[in-house]
Symmetry: C2
Subunit: 263 residues, 2 copies
């Protein structure tokens, strides 16, 4: 693939999708639950995924698409070119706040992240990265992540993980919350990765993320020198749900060894 022209194509596609999402607030939004009562999906999530997929199939017929809402391909490996798409990451925010959600898209070639996009739709803020070509916030190049220590770090993590849960020893997360400078939670994995890539938080931690939540953000985070793995320190899983920690390189290992003990 010719990376520069794909980048221009994708930016244009994402902006058009964002326009459609903003327009959707003029119409009725139908909210349903998926896996559990708080796992929301709307007709707009589905419409936007189908919009992306129809364009990608027409313009890139050899590529495969792995999308949250299931209109894409069944993906069991990352051979060739795979687009990993979340049409609306942060659907709960979309429904309750009408803001703080994002389009998340990563394009991978044989498992290597080549292009990553996170579009904060309501703020019209685009974060993007090109493998070995830099990461950008509205076309302004982002700096390499600063080194921090735990005591001066701000981490993004949901309060859910401070209580007993099936994924992680919560005594470790409680200790982490006590040791860091601050904890934030914005309700969109994609936006939280964009905030990490742009230096507003120093780590993002979640016990349960899907490939489309992290695919775009991982390209961004790696391009500014950050690390992204599961809690065992392995490459973040792009085929199924897994634990996830992304951080600047100076605290990533410490988060794994000192605080995040997988059950």
């Amino acid at each position: 693939m010719e990376i520069g022209s794909m980048d221009r194509y994708i930016k244009s596609l994402i902006k058009e999708a964002g326009h459609r999402i903003r327009n959707s607030f003029l119409t009725d939004i139908v909210v349903q639950s998926k896996a559990d009562a708080n796992d929301l999906v709307t007709n707009i999530d589905k419409d936007i995924e189908q919009f992306f997929i129809s364009r990608i199939r027409k313009d890139f017929p050899g590529h495969r698409v792995f999308g949250e809402e299931g209109f894409g391909d069944t993906i069991e490996d990352l051979e060739g070119i795979v687009w990993l798409l979340d049409p609306i990451d942060g659907t709960m925010n979309f429904v309750h706040q009408k803001r703080n959600f994002a389009i998340s898209l990563g394009v991978y070639q044989d498992g290597v992240g080549k292009l990553g996009y996170i579009y904060d739709v309501m703020n019209d803020d685009l974060y993007h990265a090109i493998h070995q070509g830099g990461a950008y916030y509205n076309d302004e190049q982002l700096n390499p992540l600063p080194e921090t220590d735990i005591a001066t770090s701000i981490i993004a993590m949901n309060a859910t993980w401070a209580g007993p849960n099936r994924y992680v020893d919560h005594e470790g997360t409680i200790r982490l919350i006590r040791d860091v400078r601050g904890v934030r939670s914005y309700g969109s994995a994609a936006l939280e990765l964009a905030y990490l890539a742009s230096g507003r938080v120093d780590a993002y931690i979640s016990m349960r993320l899907s490939p489309w939540d992290i695919a775009g953000g991982m390209v961004l985070v790696k391009e500014v020198g950050g690390l992204a793995t599961n809690f065992s320190g392995q490459d973040a899983n792009l085929l199924e749900q897994d634990t996830f920690v992304a951080a600047n390189s100076s605290i990533h290992q410490k988060l794994l060894t000192d605080y995040l003990r997988k059950k």
Copy 2:
């Protein structure tokens, strides 16, 4: 006081202060710690408080000012007209993120909140309310808060309060986190109250807030039918630090009785 002209005066003053804060990013910001290592203050917090106080003293010589940085009056009662000011609420965000902080201002007459302002400086978003005159987001009137039940509510609360702490039985907060639809944390009490007043979250809870953190937001929240008390259900404390819960009226009592057990 003539409320309409004071409202116009204050809006203009806040916008000028916001301009000064945005300009401060062009210069060096000096960061210090206050009560503990993570309780930050900068030269800009101090400059902005002094800016407000000099203007208020000149133009409203009979009024008193209660400000976070201590340049105002010593306040031991709320007689007469008192301005409660936080020049930068969310100083940690100001320092680390250069966004997600606010100017917070409430004007009280004999203990009654007459005017409330929360200015999201970087987004140029002004939330304000006039006692019995409505609450507004950028001059668009806000609706009365919707009724919710706990299971469909989004609450703003820091993850800190899910671990053992001196203020509240954390088993209760962990249960709350499990029972609600979602938990968010933005790192600025003023902004979180503005988000409550504008319906983006359904409650805001903190174990330790100061009068200037909540004075402006309380006018907003009450004007859209919300309730704001300490954990004992008493009027929120405007003279000293206290626990704090603000919510729509359909869940406020349930938060107090079922979840927030003060130690």
